[in-house]
Structure formats: structure tokens, C-alpha cells
Amino acid sequence: MFAHETILHRLRYGCQTMAYPGGPPPPLPDRHGGALRVDGAKCAEGCNACVPVCPTQAITREPGKPVVLDLGKCIFCAACVEACPTKAITQTGDHRMAVRSREDLVLGKPGEEELRLAVALEQKLKKLFGRSLRLRQVSAGGCNACEADVNVLGTIGWDLGRFGIQFVASPRHADGLLITGAISCNMELALKKTYDAVASPKIVIAVGACAIAGGPFVGHPQVLNGASSVVPVDLFVPGCPPHPLTILDGLLRLLGRMEKP
């Protein structure tokens, strides 16, 4: 009988929610590369090996200058890591990737070898949203993988509700938007209307390579290359899709709830 079995099951398993962020984060698979690092100084003279292998044209190199990698465009396929003969581009294994400004994802210049992690919202917004944040999710021209891994945060292992973060069924109930997808032209109007329907002050979070810069669909005439083309964005979470841990880290960072940097 299921009533009996489910109760026994609960007793056997106990609380299945992870200790993180109070305890250690759940281990990432060894082949998950995490964020990338670019040591421009290591770029060989005249080498261009990484530029043509990048599917989203996230890497550029001007003659005589080190390589520039835009992690906002990056889909983390690591083709550049494989192609680089001097190990100038490497995987750090770090799940933390969320940033507050688009430029913080551009790597390569001296002192900018790695991305510059997000700082918390300013005091007033932090006070408003820090312990209770209601988000409306708008999916607009992606592949549903970012949506799937945002949904994962609602499962018992992650339990996003314990941070006071909740996804709501109307923009009128929301403090902000969480946007996924490259913003298809067909969704532009719906996104604008949804944004307008959220009362101010409000925040916008762009999750995934598509929502940051168009992802694999960058440059297609049918998309607008990311959420910033339609609404102002307060937090960018890179990945294709970002690991749930990366998304959670970003949300907590934005709300000033990460004790450690």
C-alpha cells in the first residue's frame, strides 16, 4: 500500500535537500569544465587556432594582440581548449560564473584572465528582494534546456524555496523576470509586455548563452541576440545550459546571500 510505503521511504531517506550553501556544493562531474580562463600572455605569435573552431564566434584576435574570449557568447564546447597549442585557454572547473555586467564576461586582457563575479544588488533593492524574490520566467527562443535546469532548482535536492525565491504565475505578482532564449522576433512583443507588467523596482536575470548573446543562434535574422536587446539585464548567467549550481550561485550572489566570494 503506497501510503505505508511512502512514509517508510521518507523515514529511510530523511531530508534530501543539499547542505549547500551552508555546506559544500554538490560535486560536479569530472568532465564538466566549468568557467574558462584566458592567459593572453601565453598566446603564440600569429596563432589563430582557436578562432575558427568556435561555433558561436566568441573568440577574436586582432593582429599583434592577445586573444579575446567572450564568455557571454560561449557555449562551453571546449573546442578552443582542445585547439590551443599553448594552453592559453583552459578550463577552471569553477561553477561560479554569474556577472552583473556584460563586459565582465570578456576575457583575455592582462588582469582580465577570468570573469569578474557578480556583486550584490545595491542596498535598497537588496533590502526589498534579499529574503523574498518572486520571479516570472519568460522563455523566448531557446532549446528548453535552460528552462529544464531552472526547474531543477525547484526539486527537493535544491529546494529554491528555502531562500525565499519563487517562480510565480503572473508578472503582476513578480519582482522581476528570469529570461531564457535568444529572444525570437516572435517573442519580442510578449517579453516587452511581460516586463512592463512587472511593478517597479524590478530586476532581470538572463540565464544561458542564448539569453546573454544569442547562443548557437547568434546572428540569425529570426532572433534578437539576447535579452539586453529588449530589456535592461541585472544578472548574466553563462552556460549552455548553465549547471543548476551555477544558476543558484548567481541568484544568491545577486541577493548578497553568498557568505564566501
Binding site: 520566467q137 523566448a140 535536492g157 516572435n186 543562434f217
Partner: protein, 493 residues
């Protein structure tokens, strides 16, 4: 040529010279296609190929019982042709798509309107079928939904609680995948294939890789084919488990809902164990696979798989035991097998209506030539049947993986670079977790894509959901919808 001449035959994952595809005048081609469908064929693909200012129609038909595919084409023509939909309803959306993309009018088509609104203007603009009457009202939902879900627009015609008709307007996720493939493969192509439908990354990536290999007359090393088959079943396990949890959630049966939600993640993590990405991004490549499953990793995978399978077994069985679940699932959202066959449904939705169709069994390619799973079928066509087929497939995929992981083939995982032949047509079917993923590629004089057609299983099945709602309460829409769990992005391309 007259309509009695048959289509050219080929098997799944192979190609033939474009010149060998038989050709008819437009009206005769429609008649020839109808003949093929009359003798038991199933329409996998129907699309246009531009030829100057004119367009050729191309049809790919599957004869499931004979393990054979068949292709035919029309001569280039303009303006209009007699609609195939009048004879075979399964062509209805294909003909709308061709009309939208090439302007060819299927004369007599009962409901000709855009499929994705590619011409500007959002998809919900335009006419919807309307029921009139004093008590009738219309309910309009979307594109933005009340959850973390893809965008789409649903228009219900209701009499009180009862849904008389549902029309679904999609296209909000349209991001130009097919258009971008012209002249390809380009450097973004592989990544775009992996994101046609993110939850079917392995399904679409495998179909693409096999299509390129077929065009090149090459085959990936056996071990790579085996790896792809393992990843395909892991993808099925993750999604089916998630769907069972979502169905439980929609009838407020929280024990199974919370357990399956977690277990879905456990299966995704097994894919990540193989390749680093939970959705299998970066794993399948034309010519082979990018990561191997070494013995130690395989042992870890098998150990974790067994634990997860045991837990799914528990969580699913609570559901089947609970009367409160069964009473909500049974006789809800019924699609008869006649309707399913007429609409050309595929995958879980077709098998739950008693149709025995599964590409892994009917059109085995890749590793499935050597190892098969029994087809999971349930006759009733209701939400319960669609849940039950998923459950059967979870058990069978689990068993398949346990057996296969015990006896891996040895060898390389990457073959030679594949170079597509010029002026060739390849057809590939892969049984993704939702159903048949179909890719058809035609190359030009220099072996680049002249046309690349992608048909996600959702393209066939959205009409099934609309039909399932007829006569049911609108409050049952969420469980009917979850029981199909179709892809918006895979449809919208």
C-alpha cells in the same frame, strides 16, 4: 511517370543519388504519395526544395512492417497542387508548412494557415476556428505560461467546462534553424543540432551525425555507435522519469512527484558522467563520439544507474497503487488508435494508442541493428496509457542499458572526417524519447546542404494533444498536456 510507379526504397540512415529519386508532375506526385500511404506507408517528411523560382515537393514515407523507407519527388512547379491532406490527414501540417515556406497552395486543404508565422507578426495573430452559440466561450492562454515552460498559444472553444475544440498556435521559439543550414554544414551547425530541442540533444545530434555519415557513405566506429545508443537511452530515462513526476504533480500526488523530480536529475547526471554535460552537449559528433566510457567510469555509471532504477521503480509503483491517481489518469484525454494512425502520431503518444511503431525496432540503424528492446505498447490512448508506456520504457531502457554496459564493443570512438557526397539525399530516423526524430538532407554540387529538413516528433504529435482535449474538461488540460509533453522549440525550429 505515372502514379503507379513506386517510390525509391532505402533503409534508415542511408543515402541515394538525388537523380535516382523518382519524379512526377505535381498532381501525379500527390497521387503517388497517396498510393504509398494507402499501402501502409507513414508520412515521415514532406517538404519543398527550391529550384529557381519553382519548388519541388519531396516525400519520405516509412513502411514500418518492411523496415523500409521510400522517397519520391515532384517536378519543379509553382502556385498550387491538389492537397494530399484530403486523402491523408497526416499531411495537414506538412502542407501548411510548405505553403508558408514556399507559397505552394494545397488546393482543398481544410485549414490553411501559417505554422510558425515566419513573416513577422506573432503566431497568435490570425484566425482561429470558432464555435458559435449562446453558452460557448473562448479561453486564450499564452504565449507566456504560468511556470517555467516554453512559449505557445492555446485557444480553447468551450461549452461550460467542456472543451469542444482546441487550436494550438506555435512559432514563438522560431529561431531559424533550418534556414541557417542552407550551404552548411557551418561551424555552428553541430551546436544548433544539439539545441533543436534541448531535452533531445542526443536524439537530434545522433540523427544529424548519422545523416552526414550516410551522405559520406561512412559509418562511425562500432564503439561510437554503441556509446550513442547508451546516451540515447539515458536521455529517455531522464525525460520519462521527469514526465512521470510531472504527471504525479498535476494530480497532487506529491510522493512520486518529488521522488521523480530528483531522479530525473540523477539520470541527467549519468549523461554528465559520460561527457560532462547533463544534456549530452558536445558528445556526439559526425564520424564518432568525443568522449569514451572507460572501464572505471562504466562501473560507476552502472552502479549509479542501478540505484536510480530501483528508486524509480518504487516511486512509480506508488502511483499505480493509488486510486486517486488512476481515477484522474484513466479515460482522460483519449486518442483512439484510428485517430492516432490517421494523424500520423509517433513515439510514446502513438504506442499509448496501441500503434506498434518504434524506430529502434522498425528501422534499426546504428547499434540498434545488434541489440533491440521490445516495443512498449498500451491500447487505451488515455493519460494513463501514456504514463504507462513511459513506465514500461523506463524498465526496458534500464534493462537494455544494464545488458549493454556489461558487453561493450572495443575499438576507436572517432572515425575519419566525413565528407558528404554531392547531389545526394539521405534520410535518418532516430527514436528519441518523444518519438521519431527525422532528418532529411539534400546536398548540392559541392556536397554542401542544399536543403536540410528536420522533423521533431512534436511536429506530428501536437495535433494529437488538440484532439485528446475534445469532450474533456478544460481543467484536465494540464495532465493531458503533460502526458504528451511535446517540444515547442523542436516544432518551431
Amino acid at each position: 511517370m505515372n502514379s503507379t510507379q513506386p517510390f525509391a526504397l532505402l533503409s534508415n540512415g542511408t543515402s541515394l543519388p538525388w537523380a535516382d529519386v523518382p519524379e512526377w508532375g505535381a498532381a501525379d506526385f500527390v497521387a503517388a504519395t497517396a498510393d504509398e500511404l494507402n499501402r501502409g506507408g507513414r508520412l515521415c517528411a514532406w517538404f519543398g526544395v527550391a529550384e529557381g523560382d519553382a519548388t519541388r515537393l519531396v516525400a519520405a514515407v516509412a513502411f514500418d512492417g518492411d523496415n523500409t523507407l521510400a522517397v519520391g519527388r515532384s517536378e519543379p512547379f509553382t502556385k498550387s497542387y491538389p492537397s494530399l491532406t484530403l486523402r491523408h490527414a497526416q499531411a495537414h501540417l506538412f502542407e501548411r508548412e510548405v505553403w508558408e515556406q514556399h507559397g505552394l497552395v494545397p488546393e482543398g486543404h481544410p485549414w490553411l494557415k501559417p505554422v510558425r508565422r515566419q513573416d513577422g507578426g506573432h503566431p497568435a495573430a490570425g484566425n482561429f476556428f470558432q464555435v458559435e452559440g449562446g453558452e460557448v466561450h473562448e479561453v486564450s492562454v499564452g504565449p507566456v505560461h504560468a511556470g517555467i515552460i516554453e512559449p505557445g498559444h492555446f485557444r480553447f472553444q468551450c461549452n461550460g467546462e467542456e472543451v469542444l475544440h482546441l487550436e494550438i498556435a506555435l512559432g514563438y521559439q522560431h529561431r531559424g534553424v533550418e534556414e541557417a543550414l542552407a550551404g552548411g554544414p557551418h561551424r555552428a551547425t553541430m551546436s544548433q543540432m544539439e539545441t533543436v530541442a534541448g531535452d533531445t540533444t542526443i536524439g537530434h545530434a545522433t540523427a544529424y551525425a548519422m545523416t552526414l555519415e550516410a551522405l559520406a557513405g561512412a559509418e562511425a566506429p562500432l564503439r561510437a555507435q554503441w556509446l550513442r545508443a547508451m546516451a540515447l537511452e539515458l536521455e529517455r530515462l531522464a525525460n520519462h522519469t521527469g514526465d512521470l513526476g510531472a504527471l504525479a504533480n498535476d494530480v497532487a500526488f506529491l510522493p512520486s512527484s518529488s521522488a521523480c523530480g530528483k531522479l530525473r536529475g540523477d539520470f541527467l547526471n549519468l549523461t554528465a558522467l559520460i561527457c560532462g554535460n547533463r544534456f549530452g552537449r558536445g558528445f556526439v559528433r559526425p564520424g564518432g563520439c568525443r568522449q569514451d566510457l572507460e572501464n572505471e567510469r562504466m562501473a560507476e555509471l552502472l552502479g549509479k544507474l542501478r540505484v536510480a532504477l530501483k528508486e524509480v521503480d518504487e516511486a512509480a509503483n506508488w502511483m499505480w497503487d493509488a486510486n486517486s491517481v488512476r481515477v484522474r489518469f484513466e479515460m482522460t484525454g483519449v486518442v483512439s488508435s484510428e485517430q492516432a494512425a490517421e494523424l500520423g502520431l509517433v513515439g510514446v503518444a502513438a504506442r499509448a494508442s496501441g500503434l506498434v511503431r518504434d524506430v529502434r525496432y522498425d528501422h534499426p540503424a546504428g547499434w540498434h541493428r545488434f541489440a533491440q528492446t521490445p516495443v512498449a505498447v498500451w491500447p487505451d490512448g488515455d493519460v494513463f496509457a501514456r504514463a504507462r508506456v513511459r513506465w514500461l520504457e523506463i524498465q526496458r531502457s534500464g534493462k537494455f542499458l544494464e545488458e549493454q554496459l556489461a558487453t561493450p564493443p572495443t575499438g576507436d570512438i572517432r572515425g575519419d572526417a566525413v565528407q558528404p557526397a554531392s547531389n545526394a539525399l539521405a534520410v535518418t530516423l532516430v527514436e528519441g524519447w518523444r518519438g521519431e526524430v527525422c532528418h532529411v538532407a539534400l546536398t548540392d554540387d559541392i556536397g554542401k546542404f542544399r536543403r536540410y529538413k528536420i522533423i521533431d516528433p512534436s511536429f506530428h504529435n501536437w495535433s494529437g494533444l488538440a484532439l485528446a482535449m475534445r469532450g474533456h474538461a478544460i481543467s484536465d488540460f494540464p495532465i493531458c498536456n503533460k502526458s504528451f509533453n511535446l517540444s515547442y522549440c523542436g516544432f518551431d525550429l
